[in-house]
Symmetry: C2
Subunit: 733 residues, 2 copies
Amino acid sequence: MKNIEMNWELGHHTGKEQTPEQWVKANVPGNAQLDWARANDYPDFHFGDNYKQWVWMEDCYWTYQTVLDLPNDVEGKKVFFQAKGIDYECEIYLNDQLLTHHTGMFSEVKVVLNPYMTEAKNQLKVIVFPVPKSHHNSYDRSQADHTAKPAVSYGWDWHPRLIPSGIWDEARCIVIGPQAVKSLLVDYELDLQQRMAQVNMEVSYWGGNFWDGSYLLEVLDEGKCVKEIRFNGNTSSFELADLKLWWCVGQGDPFQYDFVLTDLETKQQISRKVAFRKVALVMNEGAYERTNTFPKSRSCPPVQMELNGQKIFLKGTNWVNPEIFPGTITDARYHELIDLALEANMNILRVWGGGIVNKDAFHQYCDDKGMLVWQEFPLACNNHPDDKQYLKVLKSEATAIVKRLKQFASTVLWCGGNELFNSWSGMTDQSHALRLLNSVCFEHDSNTPFLPTAPVMGMGHGHYAFFDEDTQQDVFQWMFSADCTAYSEFGMPSPAFENTIKKIIPAEEQFPPSPTEAWKAHHAYDAWTEKTWLNAHIIEQFFGKSEDLSTLVARGQQLQRIGYQCIFEAARQKQPYCSMALNWCFNEPWPTAANNSIIDYDNQIKPAFYGIKDALRPVLASAQFQRFSYDAGEWMEMDLWMLNDGAQQFDGLNMTIEVCFGEESQEQYWNGIAVKSFENTVGPRLRVKIPQHHQGLFNIKLKVENHSALDSYYELMVKPMEKWKDAIAVLNI
Amino acid sequence: MKNIEMNWELGHHTGKEQTPEQWVKANVPGNAQLDWARANDYPDFHFGDNYKQWVWMEDCYWTYQTVLDLPNDVEGKKVFFQAKGIDYECEIYLNDQLLTHHTGMFSEVKVVLNPYMTEAKNQLKVIVFPVPKSHHNSYDRSQADHTAKPAVSYGWDWHPRLIPSGIWDEARCIVIGPQAVKSLLVDYELDLQQRMAQVNMEVSYWGGNFWDGSYLLEVLDEGKCVKEIRFNGNTSSFELADLKLWWCVGQGDPFQYDFVLTDLETKQQISRKVAFRKVALVMNEGAYERTNTFPKSRSCPPVQMELNGQKIFLKGTNWVNPEIFPGTITDARYHELIDLALEANMNILRVWGGGIVNKDAFHQYCDDKGMLVWQEFPLACNNHPDDKQYLKVLKSEATAIVKRLKQFASTVLWCGGNELFNSWSGMTDQSHALRLLNSVCFEHDSNTPFLPTAPVMGMGHGHYAFFDEDTQQDVFQWMFSADCTAYSEFGMPSPAFENTIKKIIPAEEQFPPSPTEAWKAHHAYDAWTEKTWLNAHIIEQFFGKSEDLSTLVARGQQLQRIGYQCIFEAARQKQPYCSMALNWCFNEPWPTAANNSIIDYDNQIKPAFYGIKDALRPVLASAQFQRFSYDAGEWMEMDLWMLNDGAQQFDGLNMTIEVCFGEESQEQYWNGIAVKSFENTVGPRLRVKIPQHHQGLFNIKLKVENHSALDSYYELMVKPMEKWKDAIAVLNI
């Protein structure tokens, strides 16, 4: 195999037949808009509302071109151009001869150049079409409803309108024999009782068709060969006994075998990792009992994850593109973010359907680290139609996605996309796109569960606020009565760090915040509602007017921490009927001024991250409160728990509950606690008298004797002082 | 084409390799058990508990055999044995040579006999295997969980344990050229706006493979040719404009074209009917608005039928096998029952998944008459497993079912099966069988909606009683507050007619009824609960002790009429959020002693039939009551409606409401009523004072001036007299 160097340049034009007036250096992988802006000294799109200067680039054709220096001796071999992802629709030419027309950014493009190769230099050209838009009636995500391109780029409440184009994943030009092995696909049926797998292998070739080679497969367990198979042809099956299983983090080791395939004729060798796990969605405990009166409906669908026969509480987060321009995402970017999620005691990432399907590096790292992946298809908050052309592209994209990602053990859940069965999307169980995705997943990966969308019945999305002005309830109040099988999205906004705000908002607008173009561009205002995501009025409702930016940021981030801790713990307290809690969202694709994320674009860690990390410890002391704020003099009630989602056990634990109102503190006790594996222990309901004289925050410490790692800490509030009322009145206008 | 006469005989044996000791004449189509019993003078299985004498026949092999008198001149032709349905697993032999092994009663068996034909007589043998049972731990429907055989035969609360076997649908032996046309398959995409269809035809041949013939297709509209197409090959497409659509009863004509295909070489001609309709399940009005608080779940799935762009209220019933032994069902049996459903103003039959998939005659008659069909696959109240062998059979059966029934316009809804998502079944959205069925339907008939099961979320099944002893509510009470998108099952039991009871219950046991073997065998006791379906104690709770059988029957059948009328009208009053009401059940497969059916086995019409017929008139005056029984002296409330599920309109209607307590009557009025097409009109809530002295039934008449066809009539009750209380106490023990 020989790699041919490619030096790309690109330019834009308005008609497909035209050629660019200016050529600039192109990065591959990358995105056309970034290269163009860099070459033409565009200002940083992160600052102010600069991104608006980029918007015209949506409607261009972009031509990439490179001249290939091809070897003379390709006899018997073929020259392939292979691109793992071209965004979104393109035509590929060699020496002005059309090789292929391709639609869809998640399916590989692979073309043979030989038929049009010349002795002289060979010019390879990729013409990328303007971004797809189904209409021009509005300037929003609905324009993406006829495409399998991620809708987020068309503008979202935390993502500016910036729609990437170009060769966004690896591309190469190679000279290779068509019978050379391209990949080894592995499928298996797993018998948990027998700890045995029936493994089916399929060898695929560069030339696409099947050759009947002679192969040796070696299965290695940390370098030691545990199985050797010799076979002819392109498929083979064998049994692997005494199986080591792959486990997610917190439940065991993410064990992977190495499969090494040797072509016995050519001695070509390829290797890959293969991990074995059995995964299912089973009925949530108690779900069958909740529809007991006539007329009887069905029970809520199962969303309890079972891994290798063990029911797992899914604790994690919603993953969004870590970059606006996905061509720039590096392996390191994936690794640092996944490492942070692991640090937060999370075991699953929901790869939300508004964004991209990630590159292999993301999935391999999740396999390596034991991070589960809920993978959505690129459908979100749109009514994707029963349109034959759309469905054709969706089918080829989905098939490519499933065949690629099913090779990773971490892919434990397929999902049609985000919030498709809600009024703002308007899709239903009858939508052809979702029936198609069910079929594709069932055909290619029936052993992994499929959800048509989230939420399904019984699952909850939201709320995305610390305090709901419609119901006049705070997060503690609605979580006390919430009764979902899973919380697959819930948000808690906070302002960005001060240093970020100073980088993206013009100096004269920074404080006090106001709905200027820059603040709005960064989602502090007019994002979801007029006041989101900054929600300054809610911060002031509890803390009074902030005198400077750093105070506002600190208070807003504190509310975020308190709110997220409350929801994660409340969800875990509702286990086993509840089986999942994922906050919206983990990361962000650019620096926002306010957002629900817990890691900012620069990987700065918000206080909420640590609150969540604590709430997601395998075992912890936990309390449930019915409200966040109390009147002086009233009785506050708190329910105690020991939460446990793992195999650990404890006996005879003693807990001291310390409630501190400034200097003054009260103590109560819960002693002799037994904690069984994979089971919460329910404690008593305590009553605490709020002192008459206290105002503002107070705190509760749950201390576990000799096990301080299980301690927990909460902050609640005695209602704001009279003197703040005027300030609040002003802010609420 | 030449038909070879077949004279079948059959016998049973215990091992597959054995041969029968006794041969008896066999009817084809028919069922082995019936033939055996007839030849051996078994007593009528309808009487007493005689059916138990048949049960051993489940576990036999049954061999059918016939000697074929084959012509000498088959050169260039083939001899086919074709059976439309063999129940359930079989092997077919010619002259003791195995031709095929087949599993599944709904897929055609077609074999070529030529390879093993001899000059002498040819012996054709069909060995039918013992009925499939997945286990022997219990003696019930769960034994059918690994098969695609209808579970009802394994015993149900209205069906004895009698499991048929044999050649149950048409079978023939014919001599024909392999390139002769076997059928013409028609698919289309319909453009409602343009009143145009894009029609795709496919010619299929006896030989299975494709020949490239030359054909003429003529499209006839009542004999007049409206389109002529000449084509070569086996597929062709054309547009049909100025389309006449197929409508269901009550909404328009069930128009069908005749398609006549002529093979221009052989002059062979085949013709079939083709009807055009567009069907969808769309969101029920208001369903999106019902999940408005955080955390937000999804909305209930759509179950509102839309036919040719018009939303249709589905009013109908649950259809069950009209015979225990499906081989005996004649075209006439189908026709007489469907005619009765039409007479009851019904527009849909739910072909319940516990029973068989019907023969073509059923579907053709539904097409002819405009009766919609909700077709379930043979899964009901079982946990059909993710088992590869089961799924393989299910796939071939389902594919055959879909390809056959999609050719009928009346097939408007596919459904995985009955109550699969409830605790007593234990299947879920993740069950492979249901994901498979969704895929099969999507692949072969994506233009017809698919439900995984009924009930889906929002739909209701039940109750199956006039009075619920758990909640102490009568049917008026729970229907007043019920809030389902669809009522796809609800029952109301009644005793059978006196003449039937006298035919099936030994004389000495007939009155008073008691839980003897004969009454239990016919589902009067121990069917669902100890006291169903006779529910004598509920009849007595309202009417007091019945002095003879005819009084008990009359009272029980009166409660059935009142209850069914209440539910059907209540469902229609809840339109448009509610879009469907289907009672459980229409007919019955044998004479029961008590059942929820409204037509008995002998086609005797229960009073409930007429109550339903009235409740399902397109337009009617209607009242909603909050309870069935009232205290003397209290105020009764009633809400008035004009119901309308069709295109008719009225203006300025005047209604008189007459409430009669024996001789004494009160009148109130609702005047100047406008009735718009496809829309109910809500009237006032009236209040009526129950007289102090009245006891027992009283009635309400809604009389529409000059439109007596819209009048309605109700019966309610003033609570039972003191003197009955003792009797009730005794019965309730």
